[in-house]
């Protein structure tokens, strides 16, 4: 997946010289995960900039760069350090268009790895997507495959709305599906049916999609047919795509790495019961981390929902009745 991101950045920078990449360690090093490897050598120090260590000014100056006519792609080294820039993202990035009544567009992409499972040091691995989906004006995408990583990034960069583009730390090197060489986009706001099924709809995004798919495989051996939806984009949300699946299965499980309370799963539950109430055959379940801080690496496997847990909870859901 990391190669797909790098390739997309290179192609977009080639095609449009207004695109600049700024962030911590993105230049000479090529990013701590190498997402920008080689870009500074290709496009120069003006277009791929090693910024001082300050997320607030990285994002805030990104707004200014966009106002000046450039199309900045910002790398936040880890979403865990998005807090340092949150005043710029939440109050500024997300609202500039509205506050200027359409005068200013903000063609800005903030890329950031997030999520757990790779034993990072403390404070690096939280799945904070819900902070940002609760930030009107900001689009939020979270690809699970390399194909989508490339296509969604291209779409995000094309968009005149600011987009937070979340990259799964766990999937960076693990995810290795086919990626076409040529440039293409994957539309924002369209989910992907990762696996078709009839009994239960299992909704996930980012790294959790892989867990969902593996659980679905095991469940199929138990005779339970699971449809796995990869949301790809949390805002805009593909409500029609979700409803279509729920109309078919009548049973829904939502899987996410973030804590339960206030997680994006709650938003989905509310939306689904509103849109699909008469299709539901059982209460919707959420499979998530507990309501505790992301722990140190030695216990993170107990924190993040794993395949066994998903299998057990979805199997119970398949038998439950309203």
């Amino acid at each position: 997946m990391i190669e797909a991101i790098r390739e997309c950045l290179g192609q977009e920078m080639e095609a449009d010289n207004r695109v600049v990449v700024i962030g911590e360690d993105v230049g000479v090093l090529g990013g701590v995960f190498r997402a920008t490897d080689g870009l500074q050598a290709r496009f120069g120090k003006d277009r791929v900039v090693d910024m001082p260590l300050a997320e607030g000014v990285i994002v805030g100056s990104g707004i200014g760069l966009a106002m000046s006519g450039l199309r900045p792609v910002i790398e936040l080294q880890f979403l865990g350090f998005g807090h340092q820039a949150f005043h710029q993202i939440g109050q500024q990035v997300a609202r500039l268009r509205y506050r200027s009544q359409g005068r200013h567009s903000l063609p800005l992409v903030i890329r950031s790895p997030f999520g757990g499972g790779v034993r990072t040091p403390e404070l690096h691995s939280d799945a904070f997507e819900a902070f940002y989906t609760h930030t009107p004006g900001l689009k939020v995408v979270a690809p699970a495959t390399a194909y989508d990583a490339k296509g969604l990034l291209a779409a995000a960069m094309e968009s005149d709305d600011p987009v937070l583009y979340l990259e799964p730390l766990k999937g960076y090197r693990l995810t290795k599906d086919e990626v076409p060489d040529e440039r293409y986009t994957v539309p924002l706001g369209k989910l992907r049916v990762a696996r078709a099924g009839a009994d239960v709809t299992l909704i996930a995004w980012s790294a959790a999609v892989n867990v969902a798919e593996r659980a679905a495989e095991e469940l199929s051996e138990q005779g339970i047919s699971v449809e796995v939806l990869d949301l790809r984009s949390l805002n805009p949300l593909d409500i029609d795509g979700v409803s279509e699946s729920v109309a078919k299965t009548g049973r829904v499980a939502i899987l996410h790495e973030a804590p339960l309370t206030g997680g994006f799963g709650g938003e989905l539950v509310a939306t689904i019961q509103q849109e699909c109430f008469y299709s539901l055959e059982a209460p919707i379940i959420r499979i998530s981390a507990p309501d505790t801080p992301y722990p140190l690496g030695g216990v993170e496997d107990l924190y993040i929902p794993d395949v066994d847990r998903v299998v057990a909870e979805v199997a119970a859901l398949a038998k439950a009745s309203a």
Binding site: E24, D25, G27, V28, L29, G30, V32, D50, M51, P52, L53, A54, E55, G56, V57, G80, F81, H83, Q84, R119, T120, P121, E122, L123, H124, L260, T261, P290, D291, T292, P293, P295, L296, G297, G298, V299, E300, L302, Y303, R309
Partner: protein
Amino acid sequence: MSESRFLPNFEPIAPFSRLTDSGILDSGESPMSDDAVIEALRYMMLTRVFDDKATSMQRQGRFGTFSSVRGQEASVVGAATALDPTKDWIVPQYREFPALIRHGYPIENFALYFMGNPKGGTIPSNVNMLPMQISLAAQIPQATGLAWGLKMQGGDGVVITFFGDGASSEGDFHESLNLAGIMKAPVIFFLQNNGWAISTPRENQTAARSFAERAIGYGVEGVMVDGNDLLAVHEVTTQAVAKARAGGGPTLIESVTYRTGAHNTADDPTRYIDQQELEKWQQKDPVERVKNYLRSRGIWNENLEQELLDSCAAQIDAAMESARNTPLATSDALFNHVYAEPPQRMLDQKRDWAIRNGDAQ
């Protein structure tokens, strides 16, 4: 420009030092007794032994990602030995192993933390420190408030906070120095300028010629010290501590040193580091400099060195062994210590997690 309204351009400052690169003291009096230097050397060597051991364990998958102190031992130990652990506080970043150990944080806990066991975070109740900080610069406002609070309550404890050249670019640095200046908080801002923030060179952090001179804008005293010179760091920090204790307010100390190792065990510095510059700094090795100083005093020899090394190795081995023998954390480690009075919902989750994982409740 001489009559302009712009502020005058003043002479750049040079780092304060006491020892030459080869460990010879200048003509003044030593700021540390021989015993104190030997004790400090022990902390420096203990750090080397720990760093080597932890790095090799990390390669074998028995230790997590961690940042060694290599090259900065004099900087950290010189500062730490200026403190009184019974009343002074340390508010660390993450690259200050010997300071924490001297202050009383157990090596075993330090190791457990990097092995990913939440128990490692335990700070004994008589140890005056805040947890290591991973979110860069977040510790600096906290140190400022802690110092301000100690002063408000009439104590004479002082606070030292460690942070890097990189962390100094965060807004938290600015906001803290500003507040500390206003409140005359007894806090020492100990900035370790080790040349790098991962791959980002010091030049990308500030156009100021030194970090120390940035203090002026806050009405705070700044000083630049040779961070590879144990005696100089100790002396400058001791002065800053005495000033803070006496009500003289904060100091920004820029300790000029160099990270001669990788940023952490996940980093490959060959991708960005200037080999010649690295070699130049390796010549200034802070541990060798202290040994040379002791030799020049006629109180150091191979036997003493071997003895010290053996005792350090024994201490680290014992701590690592004990960390390794600590049982793996179970699911309650996710839930314990999150709240003083946990919400029922979380307690229900704790029970569910224990049942699912077969853990004792």
